[in-house]
Amino acid sequence: MKALFCLGAILVILPLFLILFDLLIKGGKELKLTLLIDLPHPVGEPGGGIANGIAGTFVVTLLTMLWSVPTAVLCGIYLAEYGKGKFASAVRFAADTMTGVPSIIMGIFGYILLVLPMKRFSAWAGAAALSMIFIPVVVRTTEEMLRTVPTTVREAALALGIARWKATLRITVRTVWPGILTGILLAMARILGETAPLLFTALGNQFWQTRLDQPMAAVPLQVFTYAISPYEDWHDKAWAGALVLITMVLLINIAARVLTREKR
């Protein structure tokens, strides 16, 4: 019986190694410097890279976080410190609901809200769609983290005559800041790899793009386009792009976990 359970555990973990192994073998073959610094080349032309996608991914992720981090953290603070009434329950329910919404639907949201009125695909729309994924996750982790701070700590601060807002920011939030940061990093790793919300918001781009109101390339989009294309050399590019993507995602994941471990 034990052997059967053990087999279950092995089968559960096995795909991780299979996927990482294939990524290393098939993606490693194409992993050259040109991949990281060149623009995509047309089919059949050797070389070429995904540099614009890497840049685009960073830009869209940064754009998302610029307004989503403060929004989510402040909302989390409200829920943890003042969130007792019906309004707070409604906000919690809203965040929970959004967490469960499939990411493709956030793409529809970005499309209708920004692409239709602006009449073009843009980095803005991509960031709007990604925020809808980022915000609810960080709201809930921030609140959960703050709730682990004992009430006695808050009371001690207030008893010393520190104003409540200052006590919240300087003591309560600071105590669990590494935990909140971990939540932010994990959410960032998640939106870094999201493809579905970008399909019809940021759309993708073959070239460099510095304007945020224009279609923007992203690594996950490139992996998708290359993977479903009929060309052999594009398939290799898809594997290489996937290797770059997974490296970024896993590094951030591991960094986030190391951060919480050091706290303890």
Binding site: L74, Y78, A88, D96, F109, M132, T195, V223, A242, L250
Partner: protein, 310 residues
């Protein structure tokens, strides 16, 4: 909560500011729902409830029905559950009850990494590794000998409902595993010891304790995994075959709700076409909403029971 004593303008301001951002989050959720509803009205007007049970998807004649997509989403998700639940529950029992303590952290760490892999990478791996292997090792032999069973009818192409189900099962395992482990951990130690002290074997202890205590929780974990599977987009789009037909055979290509939105949204010309795709999105939204709510309800009841120590 705001105290009215001196110097508390700033406190009030802080509460109001954070409150405003909380309101913004609530507003975004309402806006999301409103936007989906508004944009799906043209399709709702034109097709009504028949949209759910109509099997045609014809952009040229502007005749749309969601049946093949709803069918594909449900079948691939149930297939995923069927594979993932026994594996994850078995793995959870092994990690919690049998594994040496040093193994627990690395295994749960690896499972979390599995959950962190982007969906498009699962899809890539699915296209080039999983689908060929499934086709040659499983589907071809099975259809050769059992092809008369409607579920296994050929011809075998590769991309299929089965491929989508298997890939989805790999993707939802980490979620079911972690919730199952939490559920198993709620069993009071003294209950396990009671069974063992009465002369029960470890296996009997597990059977009694899990049967009595953990079934609702594991059911909750299953529903949670189902919620994940229903909305999964990229991986499914890449391996399901994308044929808008509801076929009984698991070896045939199918289509899912998320996949049709992903594939056709940018090329949807005309209000009715676009609106029909948004309506599919709204139905998907409603489905995942209901499923997640059910999972939360079951699991919170479980936690409440555990905290009472029953």
């Amino acid at each position: 909560m705001a105290r009215k004593t001196g110097g508390n303008i700033k406190d009030l301001l802080f509460e109001r500011t954070t409150g405003a951002f909380a309101f913004l989050v609530l507003f975004l959720a309402v806006l999301l729902f409103a936007v989906l509803l508004r944009e799906s009205i043209p399709a709702l007007r034109k097709f009504g409830a028949a949209f759910l049970v109509t099997g045609t998807w014809d952009p040229v004649l502007e005749k749309f029905g969601a049946l093949p997509f709803i069918y594909g989403t449900l079948v691939s998700s149930f297939l995923a559950i069927l594979i993932a639940v026994p594996l994850s529950v078995g793995a959870a029992i092994f990690i919690n009850e049998f594994a040496p303590p040093w193994m627990k952290t690395p295994v749960s760490f690896l499972a979390e990494l599995l959950a962190a892999i982007p969906s498009v990478i699962y899809g890539l791996w699915g296209i080039f590794v999983l689908v060929p292997v499934l086709r040659d090792v499983f589907m071809k032999p099975v259809t050769k000998y059992l092809g008369w069973v409607p579920l296994f009818k050929g011809p075998v192409y590769g991309p299929s409902m089965l491929a989508a189900g298997v890939l989805l099962s790999i993707m939802i395992v980490p979620f079911i595993l972690s919730v199952s482990r939490e559920v198993l951990a709620t069993v009071p130690q003294r209950q396990k010891e009671a069974v063992l002290s009465l002369g029960g074997t470890r296996w009997e202890m597990l059977r009694i304790v899990i049967g009595q205590h953990c079934l609702p929780g594991i059911f909750g974990a299953t529903i949670l995994g189902l919620g994940r599977a229903l909305g999964e987009t990229m991986a499914v789009t890449m391996v399901i075959g994308n044929r808008p037909e509801a076929l009984l055979s698991l070896f045939q290509p199918g289509y899912s709700m998320a996949a049709v939105i992903a594939n056709e949204f940018t090329e949807a010309v005309g209000d009715v076409y676009l609106s029909s795709l948004v309506l599919i999105g709204l139905i998907l939204f409603a489905m995942t909403f209901a499923v997640n709510l059910a999972a939360k309800w079951i699991l919170s009841k479980m936690v409440a029971r555990a905290s009472r120590g029953i």
